[in-house]
């Protein structure tokens, strides 16, 4: 008797489960860090919440956080696919191969992998052109720095970071050719203590503006305490530097996530690669604060020029540090060059760690 009841209950549960799965599009997210990192993963989760807000009852989202980029990832992704998720976002470079493996096994599930380069019919890739924002903040720094010395806290010497440094320097040189950039590598994406120490060291060496390619608001906090200016990273960090933050480059995945979800819902989703920037609302600038109106106006104009495609931050003439010409007058560096960037532009006096 008891057993039949249990079996019936289980069958009922399965049926309702199936019914629900048909009604709702189930979407899974795999995060490399904690949702509460206030940086990379936090922003992806904001994107997930935006999907829920946009589609309400039509979707059901789940996420798994702190998934290490090893064999665990494949298990987690496969589990999400087996659980009936029809759209799965894997949001770190290291999830690339696991995502490919699972995608091959679940052809009717759509996969989206952030920052990767391997694609399948049911596996698309996407990333952001953060360098567009970095060119703008470089220009602001050029106008706002009193000492002409700007500090840059860098994480690891990979192309994405080098791209950012170069874009920043080009932006700064466009308004102040003699500006100096002091670069400090902390060899970590996330270590608030070290980031704070790096910021202090840079300020002590005369930098009056700090910018960073690391994930915590520690440097912003130091800038606020020391009375210098700074740019936020990944999230709007204004609460850590109400007087210090000039603006912040925000990773905003919401628009992309909503677009892709809609395409799955109406059956128009296709695989592909998106490297979106300001124009796609994937890179968003936080409000321009703590600066004179004419500087903010300049920033808005540059932002608009990039957004509309009238201007590309890597437009020649661009010279490498060693004097070699990378782009002729009017020539724009190709995405391929940008994605493999391993040299500094002219004017940066440091040597790039190889």
């Amino acid at each position: 008797m008891m057993r039949t009841l249990l079996a019936a209950a289980a069958a009922m549960a399965m049926l309702t489960g199936l019914a629900q799965a048909e009604d709702k599009l189930k979407i899974g997210f795999v995060y490399v860090g904690p949702v509460g990192d206030f940086g990379w993963t936090y922003q992806h989760d904001q994107g997930r919440l935006a999907i829920e807000k946009e589609f309400g009852d039509k979707v059901e989202t789940t996420y798994v956080e702190n998934v290490s980029e090893g064999p665990d990832a494949e298990r987690v992704i496969r589990q999400l696919a087996a659980d009936g998720n029809k759209l799965i976002f894997t949001t770190s470079f290291g999830f690339m191969n696991p995502t490919v493996k699972v995608a091959e096994r679940f052809p009717d599930v759509k996969f989206e992998h952030a920052t990767g380069y391997k694609r399948l019919d049911n596996l698309a890739t996407y990333s952001s052109r953060f360098y567009e924002g970095r060119y703008i903040i470089g220009q602001i720094a050029g106008r706002m720095s009193m000492s002409g010395i700007v500090g840059y806290i860098a994480s690891f010497p990979i192309p994405e970071v080098v791209q950012g440094i170069n874009a920043f320097m080009l932006g700064m040189q466009s308004v102040r050719p003699d500006a100096q950039l002091k670069i400090v590598w902390v060899n970590s994406w996330f270590d608030p203590g070290k980031e704070a120490d790096a910021a202090k060291a840079l300020i002590d060496q005369g930098a009056d503006i700090i910018t960073q390619h690391t994930d915590s608001p520690a440097a912003m906090q130091v800038a606020e305490q020391r009375g210098v200016k700074a740019f936020g990273q990944a999230s709007d960090m204004i609460q850590f530097g109400p007087n210090a933050q000039l603006t912040s480059i925000i990773d905003d995945w919401s628009a992309y996530y909503i677009k892709r979800t809609r395409q799955v819902l109406d059956g128009t989703w296709t695989s592909g690669d998106v490297w979106g920037g300001l124009a796609d609302n994937m890179v968003v600038m936080a409000p321009y604060t703590n600066m004179p109106e004419d500087v903010a106006q300049m920033a808005r104009e540059t932002e608009e020029a990039i957004r509309s495609g009238r201007f590309h931050p890597f437009t020649g003439p661009i010279f490498k540090q060693n004097g070699e010409q990378a782009a002729k007058e009017g020539e724009v560096l190709s995405d391929e060059v940008l994605l493999g960037m391993n040299w500094y532009v002219k004017g940066i006096t440091d040597t790039l760690p190889q």
Binding site: P34, G36, I183, F190, K200, A201, D204, S216, P217, Q221
Partner: protein, 306 residues
Amino acid sequence: MTILEAVLLTVITASTPLLLAAIGELVAERSGVLNLGVEGMMIMGAVCAFTAAVITGNGLVGVVAGATAGLVMAFVFAVLAVSLATNQVATGLALTLFGIGVSGMIGENYVGVARNPLPQLHVPVLSDLPLVGQVVFGQDGLVYLSFALVVGVTWFLNRTRAGLTLRAVGDNHHSAHSLGLPVVRVRYLAVLFGGLCAGMAGAYLSLSYTPMWMKEMTAGRGWIALALVVFASWMPGRALIGAYLFGAITILQFHAQGAGLGIPSQFMTALPYVATIVVLVIISRERTRARANTPLCLGTPFVPER
């Protein structure tokens, strides 16, 4: 502020959490208990200190809460590793993983909250002295406490009867036991002291170093503290030197980079670890010196013979 003052100030802030955690672990290890849970106790100290300080608006309450959190974690470890004689390495690792997970949960709603750092104790006249003024007399309470602990622990280990008991327990728990020394109680107290210090180290991170809460913000400092204990060959004075060496290298390499000296940053980042390995090699080569300092029962659970 001159550049020298600035460097010294940042070296002190970078070294203090390492010193606090290391001195606590040093006492625990001297009693024969290897607690690899320092990172976990530290992160719990950081989250509890920050949340308590935000809720009450009082930094001192925060420090007490951080220390208490470290203490509670250490108590859990002591019950398992000392009373139930579980494997210390495995238990310590579990404690770290547990601490990292639970702290994230506790601090979930405090991510992105900003807070002012702990007040610096300002000594009239003295704090206004050139150079030494700001550096020596302008720090917050935890910095002074870390120095007091070095002196206190040195005195305790070498000059008191209780210190002698603690070392005896760490060197040979069976002999100590047969002499009637309370092995289990001594180890409990030593482990708790370690937790207290690790909790305060965490509090220093989230209240003074970078006054904010972020998940996993200890970023491996607990592991460095563990290495420092070995580096110091279980001597408090050397732990002080080690912690400041580590802090100084970290800060100086940023300055070297900022000044464009062209030393590879990866090399500088690795230097303190390299130094630790070198010291380990030296210690293990000289058998007599190793015997003089290493607690001989380190890592061995005590099960009384019946």
